[in-house]
């Protein structure tokens, strides 16, 4: 197959072109006239994108001048039945409190995890260590994993059976340093 039929290597051409302006800032080229275009009553979010797109385009429109994906009707081509099922499932999963925020003292931002994914406390602990290891000061610093339950109380993770924990946990908090060591019983 001859891949070069009708192609002009626009990239190479453009590279040798003299123009004013910063490198990498190409002005959009005029679309070649195909049919006469007139104003249409219905606005499409993709109108501008298509006009900008009509270059002999091998140069890769790497990133979007386009509207966000969510605005394109009927794209991606997934049956509404499937889309609706997913939205319902996601809503149900999140409403059930399976996704919980995890905060760690001293960390600049929080994380979110899905408790359903873990089989038990050991896995949870490992996952949290992994998630926050970049923030740990010296190795082996003491910390305690606590959670806020349905009543708003701060509880130590690990006392109750796993299923009871996942159904009552609203958010997780990793406490570090002196606070953690103080009177929290057996090491975790």
């Amino acid at each position: 197959m001859d891949g070069g039929v009708g192609y002009v290597d626009m990239d190479a051409l453009k590279a040798t072109e003299l123009r004013l302006g910063l490198p990498g800032s190409d002005p959009p080229e005029k679309p070649p006239p195909t049919t006469t275009t007139t104003a249409r009553p219905t606005k499409r979010s993709l109108d501008e994108d298509r006009a900008a797109r009509r270059e002999p385009s091998e140069g890769g429109r790497a990133t979007s001048t386009r509207a966000t994906k969510a605005q394109v009707v009927g794209w991606p081509p997934i049956r509404s039945y499937r889309k609706n099922s997913f939205q319902a499932m996601k809503a149900a999963a999140e409403a059930a409190g399976l996704y919980v925020k995890v905060s760690m003292d001293g960390a600049p931002y929080l994380r979110k995890i899905d408790l359903e994914v873990y089989k038990g406390y050991k896995e949870l602990r490992e996952a949290l260590e992994d998630m926050f290891k970049c923030f740990e000061g010296c190795k082996g610093s003491e910390y305690a994993i606590t959670y806020e339950d349905k009543d708003g109380d701060l509880m130590l993770v690990g006392d109750v059976p796993w299923e009871m924990f996942t159904s009552s946990c609203k958010k997780l908090r990793i406490i570090r340093g002196a606070e953690a060591i103080r009177g929290l019983g057996s090491s975790q």
Binding site: G3, T34, T38, R53, R61, S64, K69, V72, R79, F86
Partner: protein, 575 residues
């Protein structure tokens, strides 16, 4: 042949399975036409507006089984307004009058009301099978009518329909004496069913082989059902959220292990990873597995499950299986024929998704693969060329790169060469969907090589009218062409108007065809219906000062012997 008595000719025609073959023999001569029309039992109508129902029934008085399709395919993606058409009633009415022996009815993308179902249920004493796919307009009241009046019902198969839940206990309407069910699929219903009623129904239908439950059916109920129906071949579970520490879970595991005939599994709504252990005993026999509604199941658990499924022929999964998971599929499922990978997160690059690597792995590990639907965030020409070389047997190849116009990320080139390789290698390709950055070149290749192609879906592709012309000129067997957001205009549309009479339909939306172009097409081809779907406010009348240069936002063209339809809503203009 014409010297044979009719009974002999008819007997020979019995061996012709496909509609196309029967259509072909009926054009040979008058004698064959007559023999064929009286002996045809299964009638398929690909476009409900291509012919009037009465004419179909008059031609085939012995019809026992009817299949009709309504809305264009892009209606699946919300591109066709709700009340565009595709009504089942004219077909049911005609059958009531002319075909009281009707046994099977299959409707796809049609509007079916509760009254329609009621009429259907009461009118055909031999009715055995109702299959509704992607239909809408009915509720559980309609299902209650079917259950009540179709005494010998064998099959009720509801696939992905929008069904209103009116809370009516429709399942209870199956009479105690109804023991004939072979297949029951109500997975798409949102409402609850009475567990006891369901269990008793299953228990009294000894021939039940296919059962697909909806999300509202609990695991406990599933357990009862599976225990009573160990001969099930095809099972769609209900909710699969169960605490694996409980007795209920143990019982479920035991029940599954007794199902020696189970070869097809789906459902798994709300399944969590540890629940899948219950299914392991049946994996060895599975030929069909649909996990595409279980977003909580991540790659590792999918892998554990799939690595037991040596006989798998058809697999539907979410992209959280990842390339790693697809590699396991490739090494385990040597019998795989059909693979569908759906996106689990359509509004952004998911944490795990699949790439070209997964597809290449599948292609090299699964030599029997012939049908693919693959959603991904990127694809390369090199990968497609490799896939084409590994799998020359594709009959259906649908690739959806989720970002429109996305080029090959490695070379920044369009994907013309990759898709070109696919069409050149897969000589039996019947269905193709394109995506990614594509120029007119890919259409040149398709026109040149895809001689068996029947259905082509194009979105955000091409540079000029030449692209569409290549397709129309080259694809001799093209039946359905659907195009959205491509720079094809009147020149392409009007290039070969006679072509459209050889096709079932053409859809073009958000392209460059103008009202004038569509009018010209309609004027030249009286046996085509050229419909414009106009959704902008305030212009319901075609006559209102709309210039011929005005773009036709949505155009649907189809061949018909029925003339313009009389049930079109105001916003649909038939030119």
């Amino acid at each position: 042949m014409t010297y044979f008595p009719e009974e002999v000719v008819e007997h020979i025609f019995d061996f012709l399975g496909s509609h196309r073959d029967r259509n072909a023999v009926s054009t040979v001569c008058k004698a064959w036409y007559h023999v064929e029309r009286f002996s045809r039992r299964n009638v398929f109508v690909g476009n409900c507006y291509a012919i009037r129902p009465e004419r179909v029934m008059a031609r085939f008085p012995g019809m026992k089984s009817l299949s009709v399709k309504g809305k264009p395919h892009f209606a699946d993606y919300n591109l066709v307004p709700y009340d565009w058409g595709g009504f089942a009633l004219p077909w049911i009415n005609a059958a009531v009058r002319r075909c009281p022996g009707l046994e099977d009815l299959r409707l796809k993308r049609m509007v079916v009301t509760d009254d329609d179902l009621d009429l259907l249920a009461r009118s055909f004493p031999n009715f055995r099978s109702l299959v509704l796919v992607s239909c809408e307009g009915f509720s559980t009241d309609g299902l209650a009518a079917i259950a009540t009046y179709c005494r010998g019902l064998r099959e009720l198969d509801l696939q992905e329909n929008e069904v209103e839940d009116h809370g009516r206990q429709w399942l209870s309407c199956f009479h105690e004496s109804c023991t004939s069910l072979v297949s029951l699929n109500f997975a798409c219903l949102k409402g609850e069913v009475n567990a006891g009623v369901l269990e008793r129904l299953v228990a009294r239908c000894p021939n039940l082989r296919s059962l697909k439950l909806n999300r509202a059916v609990s695991v406990e109920s599933l357990n009862e059902i599976v225990a009573r129906a160990p001969y099930l071949v095809d099972l769609g579970t209900g909710s699969f959220a169960v605490d694996h520490h409980t007795d209920a879970y143990q019982r479920l595991m035991n029940s599954f292990s007794k199902c020696k005939s189970l070869s097809s599994l789906s459902g798994f709504w709300e399944a969590s990873p540890h629940c899948l252990d219950a299914v392991y005993p049946v994996c060895i026999n599975l030929t069909v597995l649909n996990m595409s509604y279980a977003p909580a199941i991540q790659a590792d658990d999918l892998i554990k499950l799939i690595s037991l499924c040596f006989k798998l022929q058809k697999l539907w999964v979410l992209d959280c299986i990842g390339d790693k998971g697809l590699a396991v599929v490739a090494s385990t499922c040597k019998e795989l024929q059909e693979l569908r990978v759906f996106p689990s997160d359509i509004y952004g690059a998911g944490a795990t998704s699949v790439t070209e690597e997964g597809l290449v792995a599948i292609s090299s590990g699964c030599p029997k693969l012939n049908s693919l639907l693959y959603f991904c965030y990127q694809m390369t020409n090199a990968a497609l060329i490799t896939v084409a070389k590994n799998c020359p047997h594709f009959t259906r190849f649908r690739l959806c790169i989720l970002d429109p116009w996305k080029p090959d990320p490695v070379t920044n080139q369009p994907l013309d060469e990759g898709f070109g390789a696919i069409v050149r290698s897969c000589k039996n390709l019947r269905r193709l969907s394109l995506s990614g950055l594509l120029t007119d070149q890919v259409f040149l290749y398709i026109g040149l090589y895809a001689k068996c192609l029947e259905m082509l879906s194009i979105a955000f592709a091409g540079d000029s009218d030449k692209g569409m012309v290549y397709i129309l000129k080259g694809c001799k067997n093209l039946r359905k062409l659907e195009i959205r957001d491509c720079p094809f205009g009147d020149i392409a549309l009007l290039n070969d108007v006679a072509k459209y009479e050889t096709m079932r339909s053409l859809w073009m939306s958000s392209c460059d065809v103008t009202l004038g172009g569509c009018k010209a097409l309609a004027a030249k081809m009286p046996r085509l219906n050229v419909e414009i779907i106009n959704e902008s406010e305030g212009s319901d009348k075609l006559e209102e000062n709309i210039s011929d240069l005005h773009k036709a936002e949505k155009m649907y063209v189809y061949r018909t012997v029925a003339g313009p339809r009389n049930d079109a809503p105001d916003f649909v203009w038939t030119l």
